[in-house]
Symmetry: C2
DNA sequence: ACAAAAGTGTTCCGACTACACCCATGT
DNA sequence: ACATGGGTGTAGTCGGAACACTTTTGT
């Protein structure tokens, strides 16, 4: 019923136009609404010798907080949604001011609405995931004195408890999430709880402790990683992380990083064959056979 | 950065505790936040002769609006999120007051944040999908004079435009959504636009016209149907619509209705074999062979 | 007897797995 | 020569699709 407050009842005799003309918003307390951005990219880490390929890694953009609360800690980029922009417009604006990027893949992830997730006041945050190709990307200096950097991520399963009872089961996991840039190492422990009780399945997720990661952002990151992980298997989402032209090995590496498992080259190539087209160009000057460069097939089959 | 307003900058010298103690929420204008519920169930329609089984149908709970705007039209159940409850708590509360049901499957769907989606004021709505077993279900009278009813749904593809250009393509579809209860027939035309431009894929959805369906709820319904449609193929979500014990044919019908296609019994039974267990009981007194009753397997394999 | 649904066995096909093998390059 | 990655062919396996067929009931 999308918002009917009790004073409406008095107005049944008047027209809708009259109603709207005299409508009074009222002074109910309202939560603040923000968007939080998860900007992922693939970047090359190191190149040990002239033969080895550079090892790519998935990285996440974070901002060091320049004010209270969580002063000095790292948080997801984001900000308040203003009254005259949609959620997605707010997300794109935020993204643009942070990265200078425009017109990139953006997907709404989840809306976080716990009562005390922000110590200042009630804040509801709608999270968006953006996937960018790092090749052209240079971080903007940022609005104020805020500092932005890319972090690579690691997950470790710390503990798993499984409790099976008559009508279902409960699985509790503690997962450690570690973020690393060149100099700092942040970490958090997140507890996920999956319960099946009769037909009813429900999930919850909670930050147990966080070191250097502001707010409840650690669990948002974990949630995004899981989404990415599952979506890479049944969509072409991974292509959003690739530059214009790429080798199939590079593409496969991206699938492996996001999917979290090694793939066999032969099978992989067959699977994505229809999604790409050859450009006719080749990479060269590596200590091994040159590699065909491909481009995304503009009329690839529906995923 | 989850909500940093500029006055923070002045406080860098004070402690976080001091900051929070003196924090002033400010009088920025804030959007209102609501939850909208999509309550789906499977109900039996008709039973033409003693031999035929009753034909089940997917139905959606809607509420007739008792006040402006959209007076007399039908809307999704929902309401404002108050300051001391989480989004999910608000959704469960709404669900309980509407149906009397507690502890059922609930899933956050999407958060709708267009600026003018509510003619009164800026309203951001977080939509939740609930799946209930209709067998035990009786609608509550409802809080005020509001009227609640179940509607079955039909979709018709009205128009499809496909435009292929150099670096991608655009697909525009106009879909008519029809809702029917015993007496009324509501309808709406929704336009979905999927564009692929280089690597960037984006989607938008818009209500072109609505008859009897309030706000932008027609597109929320369409979105939920699509989610249900795709999730039935790779999760066990359909079981949430089933009663405690059920026949495999009934289960298959649910899969067929939600998935939108006929299935072969042999293949279906093999596929879900591990998710169910026999109860040892049988249905009877139908004009055909009795049917085993099954129950959901409490330790079914992970989906 | 027969209509309707319950339930099972068998064959076919396509997609993915695993592995073996050859190709091309820079040092 | 050789390490490294690029790239392809083939045999095996698994699950789903299609179809045929048997079983069981109430009227």
């Amino acid at each position: 019923m999308d918002g009917s407050r009790s004073e409406e009842q008095k107005h049944e005799q008047i027209s809708e136009q009259q109603f709207l003309a005299t409508y009074n918003v009222g002074d109910y307390e309202r939560p603040s609404v923000t968007v939080d951005m998860l900007v992922f990219t693939i970047r090359n880490e190191t190149q040990s010798n002239y033969r080895k390929l550079a090892e790519p890694a998935l990285q996440l953009l974070m901002i060091r907080r320049g004010g209270h609360p969580f002063l000095g800690q790292w948080a997801l980029p984001g900000g308040f949604v203003s009254m005259d922009e949609s959620l997605e417009e707010a997300a794109r604006r935020e993204l643009y001011t942070e990265t200078g990027l425009d017109n990139i893949y953006l997907e709404q992830l989840y809306t976080w609405g716990d009562v005390r997730r922000d110590p200042r006041t009630r804040v509801i945050s709608c999270s968006y995931m953006a996937l960018v190709d790092s090749s052209e990307l240079e971080l903007e200096a940022g609005d104020d004195a805020s500092e932005a950097d890319w972090f690579r991520m690691e997950q470790r399963l710390v503990e798993e408890k499984r409790h099976i009872h008559e009508h279902g089961r409960i699985t509790e996991r503690q997962i450690q999430l570690i973020l690393m840039n060149g100099t700092e190492e942040l970490s958090a422990v997140i507890e996920t709880k999956e319960s099946i009780e009769g037909r009813v399945r429900s999930n919850s997720i909670r930050v147990v402790e966080a070191q250097g990661i502001a707010f409840d952002h650690a669990k948002i990151i974990l949630y995004a990683l899981e989404r990415l992980h599952s979506k890479v298997e049944y969509t072409d989402i991974a292509f959003n992380l690739m530059p214009d032209t790429f080798t199939l090995t590079a593409l496969q590496k991206v699938y492996e990083i996001i999917g979290g498992k090694k793939l066999l080259a032969a099978a992989f190539r067959r699977k994505i064959a229809d999604w790409v087209v050859e450009t006719g160009e080749y990479t060269g000057s590596a200590g091994h056979r040159p590699s065909r460069l491909y481009r995304l097939n503009p009329d690839r089959p529906a995923t």
